[in-house]
C-alpha cells in the first residue's frame, strides 16, 4: 500500500487497494486454509467415505485397502443405530453433557458474581488460583481426583468416614459406573469452572455501572437486577461458553480414560470412548467412522446455533 491514505481518505483508497491486493489476500490466507482443510477437512471426507463402505476389519485393511472396498450405502448406519448399546451410550453421553455443562455454568457464574463483589485482595487470590487450576492439564487433574477417591488411600473416603453414621472405609467409588461418572463430573467441572468464571467475571465488569444503578433506583431487587440486567448483557458470552462446553463435554475422553486406567468398562462409555474402543481399539474402522459421523451430526445443531450467534456478534461490531 502506498502511504497516501490519511485517516479521512481511507474509505476512498481501500477498495482500490483491496482489488489490487487480492493476490496478496490469497497468499496470506492460503496457509491457514491449507492447514484447516488438510487437517480437518480430509479426515472428515475420509470418515464419511469409510462410513459408506463395507466393514473391513483388521490392521491390513487400515494400511492397504485404498478405495477398493465396495460401497454399501447406509448399511453401517443401520447396523450401528439398531445396536441398543449405541443408544445406551448416547443417552449416557447426553445426560453427562447436560449435567456437566449445567454445573460448570452455574458454578462458574456463582464464582464470577462473587469475584465482582469481594475486595481486591480476595479477588486477586481467587483469580490467581483459578488461572492455576485452568493451567493444570486434565490428564493431571484426573490423576489427582482418582487418588482422592481411591478406595485405600483416598482422602475422600477418610473424611466421609469421620462423619458419624457414615461408613466409607474402603468404599470403591468406581465399582458402580454412576458413582464413578460422578467423580468424573467432579474433575470435569473442577477443570471447566476457571475459564467460565474468569470470562464471565470479565464480562460482568464491562456492564455499565449506571445501568445497574438505574435498575436499583427503580426498585429492582438484586435478583431482578441479575435476571433483567446482568444475564441479558452476558447472553452472547454465555451462549459461546455454553456451546463450547457442550462440545467439550459431549466428546469427553481424557478424564474417563484416565479414571479407568485406560480400560473403561462398558458402564463408563460415552460416545468418544465408545467410538475409540469400537473403531480404533478393535480395528473396526468403518464402524468407528460411522459413529464419528453420527457424533458430527449430533453436534451439527449446536454448531448452527453457535455460528449464528457469533455472526450476530460480529455484525454488531
Amino acid at each position: 500500500m502506498t502511504a497516501t491514505g490519511t485517516s479521512t481518505g481511507r474509505r476512498v483508497v481501500s477498495p482500490r487497494i483491496g482489488r489490487r491486493g487480492s493476490g496478496l489476500a490469497y497468499l496470506l490466507i492460503l496457509p491457514a486454509v491449507v492447514v484447516l482443510v488438510g487437517v480437518t477437512g480430509w479426515p472428515l471426507y475420509k470418515i464419511i467415505m469409510l462410513s459408506l463402505q463395507r466393514q473391513d476389519s483388521g490392521k491390513f485393511a487400515l494400511f492397504h485397502s485404498a478405495g477398493t472396498t465396495p460401497f454399501v450405502g447406509l448399511r453401517n448406519f443401520t447396523r450401528v443405530l439398531s445396536d441398543s448399546a449405541f443408544w445406551t451410550v448416547l443417552e449416557r453421553t447426553l445426560v453427562f453433557t447436560v449435567l456437566n455443562v449445567g454445573l460448570s455454568l452455574a458454578l462458574g457464574m456463582g464464582v464470577a458474581l462473587l469475584l465482582n463483589r469481594v475486595s481486591k485482595w480476595a479477588r486477586v487470590i481467587l483469580v490467581a488460583v483459578l488461572l492455576f487450576v485452568w493451567a493444570v492439564p486434565s490428564t493431571v487433574s484426573t490423576q489427582i481426583f482418582y487418588w482422592l477417591f481411591s478406595n485405600q488411600y483416598g482422602v475422600v473416603n477418610w473424611l466421609l468416614d469421620r462423619v458419624p453414621g457414615v461408613h466409607m472405609r474402603g468404599h470403591d467409588w468406581f465399582a458402580d459406573p454412576h458413582q464413578g461418572l460422578a467423580v468424573v463430573t467432579a474433575v470435569v467441572v473442577w477443570g471447566a469452572v476457571p475459564l467460565i468464571a474468569i470470562s464471565l467475571h470479565a464480562g460482568i465488569t464491562q456492564i455499565p455501572r449506571d445501568v445497574l444503578e438505574a435498575a436499583r433506583v427503580d426498585g429492582a431487587s438484586p435478583w431482578q437486577a441479575f435476571t433483567r440486567v446482568t444475564l441479558p448483557f452476558l447472553r452472547p458470552l454465555l451462549i459461546i461458553l455454553m456451546t463450547l462446553s457442550v462440545i467439550w463435554d459431549f466428546g469427553v475422553f481424557n478424564q474417563i480414560w484416565f479414571m479407568r486406567n485406560g480400560h473403561p468398562e462398558p458402564g463408563y462409555q460415552t460416545v468418544g470412548i465408545y467410538m475409540y474402543s469400537e473403531g480404533v481399539g478393535s480395528s473396526h474402522y468403518n464402524t468407528g467412522a460411522t459413529i464419528g459421523v453420527l457424533m458430527m451430526v449430533c453436534l451439527l445443531g449446536v454448531m448452527v446455533f453457535y455460528i449464528r450467534q457469533l455472526f450476530r456478534i460480529g455484525d454488531a461490531e
Binding site: S7, A25, A32, L113, V129, T139, W147, Y276, A289
Partner: protein, 297 residues
Amino acid sequence: MATVVTDAPPASHRRGATARARSGRRLTPRKVVLALAAYAIAMIFVLPYAEMIIAALRPPRELLDRGYLPKHVDWSNFTSIWKTGFKDNLGASLKVAGGGTLLVLLVAMPAAYYTARRRFRGRAAFLLLVLATQMFQPAAMLVGIQREFISFNLPSPLLSLILVNAGFNLAFAVWILNAYFSSIPAELEEAAMVDGTSRLGALGRITLPLALPGIVTALIFTFIGAWNELLVALTLTLGAPDRQRPLTVGINNYIGQYSIDWGHLFAGSVIATLPVIALFALIEGKVVGGLTAGSIK
C-alpha cells in the same frame, strides 16, 4: 462447594436492602461472608493439587499415612523419574505443543490480519470455514485422521501430532486474532506510515503490540490444547517407540493393570504442569482481557 457458591446470589438478595451502604469502607457482615466464601473456594480449588505435590514427596512407606503432611520429605520420585524415559516423553510433548503453537501463530496471524483489514471475495467463506472447523472434534474424526497420517507416512508421529494440534486449534486462534485486529483502528497504522514508517514497520510497532493480548490468548489456548491432547496422540503413536510418545500417553506407563506407581505418576504430573504454569505466569495479566474480546465489546 455447591452450597457455598450457589448461595451467593440469594444471599445478596436477602441482604440487599440492608447492605446498600456498601460504598463505605466499613467491614459489614456481608463483606466478611463474601470474602470468606472467596477464600474457601480458592482453597477448594487448590487443595487437590497440593495433595498431589504432597503425595509425590511422600516416601513410599508413608503413602498410606493419614497425616496431611508427610513425616519425611522424599525427593527421590523427582530424581529417579528421569531414568524412566520420562525425559523423552517430556521432550516429545514440548515439541508437539511448541511446534503446534508456532505453526498456529505463523499461519493464523497473516490470515486474521488480512480478514480484519480488507474485504475481499471469499472472506465470508473463509470465516465460515474457520467457524465450522472450530466445532470439529478430533474424537469424531479419529479414524479419518489415522488414515490420513498413515498415507502421509511422515518420518515421526510427532510431526503428525504437530499438524493435527495446529489444525484443530487454528480456528480459535484465527477468530480471536481477527477480533483483536479488527478492534485496532487502521488509522493508527496509516498515521504511522504517514510519519514515514513502512507498512511492516507500522505492523511491528503499532499493531502487533496492541494485539498482544489476543496473540497471547491464542498462544495459551493452543499450547494447553496440544499439551493436553491424548486421543489423537494415543492413536497415532500406537506402533511407535516409547520415546516418541508425548507425556499424556507416556504417563500411562506408571499405571499398571494391578498396581500404580503413585510416586512417579505424581512426580511426573507435577513436572508436566510446570511448563503450562510458567507460560501462564509470564503472561498472566494479558489473558483475562483476551478472553472477552471476541464476545463482548
